[in-house]
């Protein structure tokens, strides 16, 4: 207990679970196989809208190894779920193609799949409507967008200010739907025993899964345990409870044996959410110096018929730049499509693609360097709320990035850097992501041998949460890191929020810090020694978090990229990506760098290759595998560098940290599009910027 404070935090610490992951011994949900476990396979609807008329399971049940087929006719009743996506097998309704209409259960994975394939479903189909258009009669203005943000905001008189502005930009950007596609497909293994339910689930937050299962099965939550010890990525798609734990539990109850239900990659697009397409009109009215006088960001998007999800793409425009007159709106239409949901930086990734592209267009109109344009539009207070920023170092990120990238020597003329078949260009864009903190609880125990145990139901989906929480604990306890053991990923641990919204470390960490400080006080009160029976302390940050803040709190960043465009094929390749971030105190530089790089690379995917289509006839996504939905592969990713500036912000949490899991993807696609414009002179206003979209413009 003599080590000095602040040794572990900020240190480059190897992941605690790293050895288990590189040796294959870290167990993910589907890798738990209780004795007697059966296998389940879901049967997706093949129509886009309608009702089930009949389900013929005779041939299915005749398959060797078949045990059962659950349908809405025989499945055990569950309560009505709060989230309608969990309502499969409750009735005969088919709200979208891919909706689960039956679950086959069999002795082996092969038999389960064959059983599912043999289920014959007859539907009464109804006309479906799955096409988003800007003049769709069903478009409406929602009260709120995702995250609870107001659907629409007006400040000043946008129309008059825009009409009077010497310089204007009026541009519309669109994005195709995107899929999260974490490498581990969603899976759950459910087991009933002595009136209790235990589920291994691939989830970003087992606490909510536990509460959801308890409500659906009308049980005391104390009798339900959900474990998500190792999770193979999620990127939002495992943030809300998904059908697999519910259906695995349902099937296990029906057959009286444990059941493993692993969704197949091809089933994910329709079942685990996606980023919906957006059509975004941005209007910027500026003075001759490029300083914004009027800003409108108007977003059109879709949701499903069973659930309102509104990608909050207009919200970044409420906080990014000076804008005395502003209009930010969302309009949404409910279509017969799979329900969209959270995908890494929902709202920011999409909205900043449009806003940061439009800023580049304004820079060209104003004849101002795009870095300089952003500096000129730096607001003194958050425009929408009037609140002061707790810290805002966007300008420092831009300047540091420009210096590292070598921006100063850039020739602004487009289309003049030819290297053989290739045209080269560079681009810049800003990034921002809000700081959100959610109440959390934690417990810390001290043993007489000098060891500590910290318990908190955090989830490590690859962020390094387990490691950074142990670092936080070590510092709060004034103990060496190797004396701290940490338990996470189990709903029997003290309740904590899900890993999402970049709030994990700040929220969990605050409760860990508080519990560990309380424990240290107890140890000191006991004379500095831990009695044989040990000591413990718990913490709950609900009051601390609910005390709120008078500040606008966001992380910032700046992306610089260099692209090459093949004039013959239209193929765009990113030669170099460099990001500089201001995200409070960086608690573990090793895992932080990996997060930034991972986000930036997903942004590269968004810019160049990640796009799905909703087939107007079939009603959902034809791209149901990784050969038709492309994500970045090794050869796509050359030089990616992430840096940060030291940022002190006392208005966040005891660690002084901001979330870093999502900001890397924000703005990347705009920086790449801006670089393509610089390389070719062509401004593409839709992503992904596939060769077939660019080539016709290359002349």
């Amino acid at each position: 207990m003599t080590t000095s404070r602040e040794r572990a935090l900020g240190a480059d610490t190897v992941r605690i679970e790293g050895p288990a992951k590189v040796t294959g011994t870290a167990l993910y949900a589907a890798e738990h196989t209780p004795d007697g476990c059966l296998y389940a396979w879901v049967v997706p609807a093949t129509v886009a809208r309608g009702r089930i008329v009949s389900i013929d399971t005779a041939a299915a049940l005749a398959e060797p190894g078949a045990v059962a087929v659950l349908t809405h006719e025989n499945a055990p009743r569950i309560e009505e779920p709060d989230d309608p996506i969990l309502g499969a097998l409750r009735d005969d309704r088919v709200p979208h193609r891919g909706w689960i209409v039956a679950v086959a259960v069999a002795e082996t994975p092969e038999a389960a799949r064959a059983t599912a394939d043999a289920v014959r479903v007859t539907y009464a189909t109804e006309d479906h409507d799955v096409v988003l258009t800007t003049d769709h009669p069903g478009l409406y203005a929602p009260e709120t967008a995702n995250g609870g943000y107001p659907g629409s905001r007006e400040r000043g008189d946008f129309d008059a200010a825009y009409a009077a502005a010497p310089l204007t930009v009026d541009v519309t950007y669109s994005m195709d739907p995107m899929h999260n596609h974490p490498m581990e497909p969603h899976a759950a293994v459910a087991r009933w025993h002595d009136g209790r339910l235990t589920v291994h689930d691939s989830s970003q937050g087992s606490a909510v899964v536990r509460e959801t299962l308890a409500a659906l099965f009308a049980m005391d939550p104390a009798h339900v345990t959900v474990i998500s010890e190792h999770v193979g990525g999620g990127f939002g798609s495992k943030g809300t409870p998904r059908p697999q734990p519910v259906l695995a539990a349902l099937a296990a109850r029906y057959v009286g044996r444990p059941v493993k239900l692993a969704l197949h990659r091809s089933q994910l697009p329709a079942l685990v959410g996606h980023r919906p397409s957006t059509i975004q009109r941005v209007r910027l009215g500026a003075g001759p110096d490029g300083v914004i006088r009027a800003l409108a960001h108007e977003v059109i998007t879709y949701t499903s018929t069973i659930k309102e999800f509104v990608e909050q793409a207009a919200t970044p425009a409420r906080t990014m730049y000076t804008s005395p007159h502003s209009r930010t709106t969302h309009r949404v239409v409910a279509l017969d499509v799979p329900s969209p949901s959270w995908m890494r930086a929902p709202g920011e990734a999409s909205g900043m693609y449009a806003l940061e592209s439009a800023m580049d267009e304004l820079a060209l109109v104003a004849g101002v360097d795009p870095v300089q344009l952003r500096v000129r539009n730096e607001p003194s207070h958050e425009p929408d709320s009037g609140r002061a920023y707790s810290s805002r170092h966007l300008v420092e990120c831009l300047r540091e990035g420009a210096r590292r990238f070598g921006w100063r020597d850039r020739d602004p003329r487009p289309g003049v850097r030819a290297r053989g078949r290739f045209l080269l260009g560079s681009g810049v864009a800003a990034a921002s992501y809000p700081v959100v903190i959610t109440p959390s609880t934690a417990e810390a125990r001290a043993a007489a041998d000098g060891g500590f145990l910290v318990r908190v139901n955090a989830t490590d989906i690859g962020t390094g949460a387990r490691t950074v929480l142990a670092q936080i604990a070590a510092d709060a306890l004034h103990a060496p890191l190797d004396r701290v053991r940490i338990e996470i990923g189990d709903s029997d641990l003290p309740r904590a929020p899900l890993a999402g919204g970049s709030w994990g470390t700040g929220s969990w960490g605050w409760s860990v810090d508080k519990a560990c400080r309380a424990l240290r006080s107890r140890i000191e009160a006991a004379g500095g020694t831990v009695p044989a029976e040990g000591l413990s302390a718990s913490a709950d940050t609900t009051d601390d978090v609910q005390a709120g803040t008078e500040f606008a709190r966001h992380a910032y960043g700046a992306h610089f990229v260099e692209v090459q465009v093949d004039r013959d094929t239209g193929e765009i390749r990113v030669r170099r990506m460099l990001g500089v971030f201001a995200a409070g105190r960086i608690l573990n530089p090793r895992t932080a760098r990996s997060q930034f790089i991972g986000g930036m690379t997903m942004g590269l995917g968004m810019a160049l290759m990640e796009g799905a289509t909703i087939d107007p006839v079939a009603g959902d996504f034809p791209e149901r595998d990784l050969a038709s939905y492309h994500v970045p592969a090794h050869a796509d990713v050359r030089s990616v560098e992430a840096y940060w500036i030291e940022e002190e912000d006392p208005h966040l949490n005891p660690m002084g940290s901001k979330g870093i899991g999502e900001i890397g993807i924000v703005g990347t696609a705009a920086a790449i599009g801006n670089a393509v414009r610089h390389a070719t002179g062509v401004r593409l206003r839709e992503v992904p910027m596939r060769p077939d979209r660019l080539l016709p413009h290359l002349g």
Partner: protein
């Protein structure tokens, strides 16, 4: 009964006689029958590389290989890599040192694939990016970062640890060349 066959698999040096459904892939034989959790199922479709193992010494997508067609095969999974005194294979250590992963789900496949890449380059196999005036046929191909990226492109990492994976492989491939 489903059609089954007796299959002999030598996994990480241990022989296993299994009665398997003819539809069972090597991946499912390893995961569901032998409870080896190193090989991962990312797509079950040959498109992600998470299931990569060494099959008779060559890297293969075990989800695309039917076990019945590989009776007698020698299979090495990430669990069976030769370990140093510290308990890890040099590639496993390099992945740890370079933070060559986040969620870890693609990692065993990346590591097995990297072993294959190092052997293939040493064995003189050219890749799409090997220069036409590079080493003569059969001579070792130097594993530059571009060579590694090209040869590893069948192993997707959605967490995008790519730059760190390449560094980890360079560390080991470079050490192999100098030793």
């Amino acid at each position: 009964m489903p059609h089954t066959s007796e299959v002999m698999l030598h996994v990480n040096g241990t022989p296993h006689r299994l009665t398997l459904d003819n539809r069972t892939t090597v991946l499912d034989a390893l995961r569901e029958h032998l409870r080896l959790t190193g090989p991962k199922k990312g797509c079950d479709h040959g498109q992600c590389g998470a299931c990569t193992v060494l099959l008779d010494g060559r890297r293969a997508n075990s989800c695309l290989s039917l076990a019945v067609a590989h009776s007698g095969a020698r299979i090495t999974t990430v669990e069976g890599l030769p370990r140093g005194t510290d308990g890890l294979h040099p590639l496993q250590q390099a992945f740890l040192d370079r933070d060559g992963f986040q969620c870890g789900y693609c990692t065993p496949g990346q590591i097995c694939s990297a072993l294959g890449v190092i052997a293939e380059a040493a064995g003189g196999h050219p890749s799409h990016v090997t220069a036409a005036d590079g080493p003569p046929p059969g001579e070792p191909v130097p594993l530059t970062a571009d060579e590694i990226r090209e040869r590893m492109s069948g192993n997707i990492c959605r967490c995008a640890a790519y730059p760190h994976i390449v560094e980890a492989i360079e560390d080991v491939a470079g050490a192999a060349v100098t030793s």
